[in-house]
């Protein structure tokens, strides 16, 4: 087992290197630069036509100064190495767009927020989704099953940025009990978590239903019935336990997706999470932040996959044999 984990970690490092190299090459080929956009912002606030091309050319004299400041005056391969070095030593320097914050600080400040929200959303999804799925499976082909299945499908098809609008209007306008915007108090968590949990509720319930139905058809369940087990014993003791295993596989990607896939929910409710920083990074050509976010998110994804595999390893003895 330890050997397996070490091997996997080795691959994670290799994958990260490949990912960062690809990301670096791509990012350096994106047209436009932070400086260009800064000029644009400076211009937008004041005179539309005042800045003529000759002025821009003059400003280019500043470019070298800026490039020096942000370490862009050296060859590309050196920049890449600097980035890798920063990544390893956890000293990635300041972001362009947020000059008073270093990349590490941004991540240290925002990751816990995004992570908490994602975990809460998944927890709620598990609490609601599993019983719904079980209910639907046990009453297969009854009206309860159809109702639950339909509901589950509809809510999981609604993207969270639309769901966010619905919950905000439901709970803070039509039934005005929750604040629409802000951060810091426990009640601020409710709406964003709610908006984000609908999708996972749908997929967890759907998954649970199918895998429980599958499990109920298996031989060992038939044996358990034959042995005269009670309904509770058979379903909750045997079938449930086994049908929960495949569920673990979707939780990893689900959490990592929720950590970053929350840009709109964050903007709408004022959640100081990672999503907004990261979505703005590409738009403002904040290269260090773009690089860091790609690698960090790749890392989260890979670690989640690893954790899932490890859990899987302990849950299902059959896997141990079949895995290389």
């Amino acid at each position: 087992m330890t050997q397996y984990i070490i091997k996997r970690i080795g691959w994670i490092i290799f994958n990260l290197l490949v990912l960062s190299l690809i990301a670096f090459i791509l990012i350096k080929n994106v047209p436009g630069s932070f400086l260009e956009l800064q000029i644009l912002i400076g211009q937008a606030g004041t005179m539309g036509t005042g800045l003529t091309i000759s002025e821009v050319e003059k400003v280019r004299g500043v470019e070298t100064e800026m490039m020096k400041r942000w370490g862009e005056d050296v060859p590309l391969w050196q920049q890449y190495l600097t980035f890798i070095k920063g990544l390893v030593t956890l000293d990635m320097g300041p972001s362009f767009r947020w000059p008073t914050q270093t990349i590490e600080e941004i991540i240290a400040n925002t990751f816990p927020v995004s992570f908490t929200i994602a975990i809460l959303a998944v927890t709620i999804a598990i609490i609601i989704g599993i019983p719904l799925g079980v209910l639907a499976a046990l009453k297969q082909n009854s009206w309860i099953d159809y109702l639950v299945s339909a509901l589950v499908m509809v809510v999981s098809a609604i993207p969270n940025y639309v769901m966010a609008v619905f919950v905000i209007f439901l709970f803070s306008f039509w039934i005005p009990i929750l604040p629409t915007y802000g951060w810091g108090q426990p009640k601020n968590y409710i709406l964003p978590v709610l908006a984000m949990s609908f999708g996972p509720i749908g997929s967890i319930a759907g998954y649970m239903r199918t895998s429980l139905l599958d499990a109920l058809k298996q031989d060992y369940i038939r044996t358990a019935w034959a042995k005269g087990g009670t309904e509770r014993h058979v379903i909750f003791g045997h079938a449930m336990k086994n049908s929960l295993i495949p569920l673990v596989t979707i939780l990893g990607p689900m959490i990592s997706h929720l950590i970053l896939g929350t840009v709109f929910v964050e903007g709408m409710f004022g959640v100081p999470g990672m999503g907004q920083y990261f979505s703005q990074a590409a738009g403002s050509r904040d290269y260090p932040l773009m690089m860091a976010q790609t690698v960090i998110f790749g890392l989260i994804l890979m670690i989640m996959n690893l954790i899932v595999d490890i859990i899987y390893f302990f849950l299902d003895p059959r896997i141990r044999v079949s895995r290389r």
Partner: protein, 285 residues
């Protein structure tokens, strides 16, 4: 040869029988067909061009003249919905076909040849699989410029890995079956075995994966449109329309409900077909 054809027919008719029994799936399939037809014929069906402005009628709620109301420029939302549907279908099918072409070829090769080829290919698949696809989509669209093709490429660049994995697994299990051995014994070449014998037998799960992947692709496109990187405006897209509508839900709710409703409806009908297919396919085994 004749024998194989008969098996093939019974295989498909068997699945079709199973599929037909699932009312929801049939309903979904009919709906998908209607949606695709609507999308294809959008230029003829739309009562107005998608970018025709009617100043006198800005923010008109749904009425007889404008079936789904108008937006901030008096553009007919119904026509824009049809065009968005068209775009979503183009992106959905386009990106999926790219995914299928790449994933199927690499998966087949990896599964069929095994050994070193398999190891290398699967290593690449593993790497791509662990890429943060949302971020790479954004960067790729930025590098390639906006347009249908770059959206296809951006989505397929990370999307093919899942398909390759699936195809490889299926190929591995099919490879050892008797009829492949028989074909090999009768002197069939590798390519012939791959495409004439193995491919038809793994096509079921592939079709399921295509159908279940399309809604995802459509959601990615609308997510990109939401941040201004999807299909180029003024060409409408659900993501763009939703972003226009979210701020106005309080006073012009139809501006959000119409595109969101269509998006959900399309995704649902594709999902229904996918679920139906999955049940039909798994029931066979």
């Amino acid at each position: 040869m004749g024998n194989k054809k008969r098996i093939g027919r019974s295989y498909w008719s068997n699945i079709w029988e199973k599929f037909k029994r699932n009312k929801l799936a049939v309903f979904g399939l009919i709906f998908v067909c209607i949606l695709i037809l609507l999308g294809i014929s959008a230029p003829w069906l739309a009562p107005y061009p998608y970018d025709e402005v009617h100043y006198e009628a800005v923010w008109t709620p749904p009425c007889r003249e404008f079936l789904a109301g108008t937006d901030q420029l008096g553009r007919d939302i119904f026509s824009r919905l049809l065009y968005s549907l068209r775009n979503a279908i183009i992106v959905g099918l386009g990106a999926q076909s790219l995914i299928v072409v790449i994933g199927l070829t690499l998966g087949l090769i990896a599964g069929f040849y095994g050994g070193k080829t398999d190891n290398i290919l699967m290593r690449i698949v593993d790497i791509v699989y662990s890429f943060p696809s949302y971020l790479l989509n954004i960067i790729l669209v930025l590098v390639l410029g906006r347009g249908y093709f770059s959206i296809f490429v951006a989505i397929a660049a990370t999307g093919w890995a899942g398909m390759a994995r699936l195809v490889r697994g299926q190929t591995l299990s099919t490879k050892s079956r008797d009829f492949v051995e028989a074909a090999r014994a009768s002197g069939a070449g590798n390519n012939r075995i791959m495409f004439r014998y193995i491919l038809p037998n793994i096509i079921g799960p592939v079709i399921y994966s295509i159908f279940s992947g399309i809604p995802g692709v459509m959601l990615v496109e609308s997510g990109l449109s939401l941040i201004g990187l999807g299909v180029r405006p003024p060409m409408p897209s659900w993501g763009l329309m939703i972003s226009e509508g979210t701020g106005q839900f309080l006073y012009n709710p139809y501006m959000l409900l119409a595109p969101a409703g269509m998006l959900v409806l399309t995704i649902l009908s594709f999902n229904f077909v996918a679920f139906g297919l999955r049940d039909a396919l798994s029931a066979r085994e």
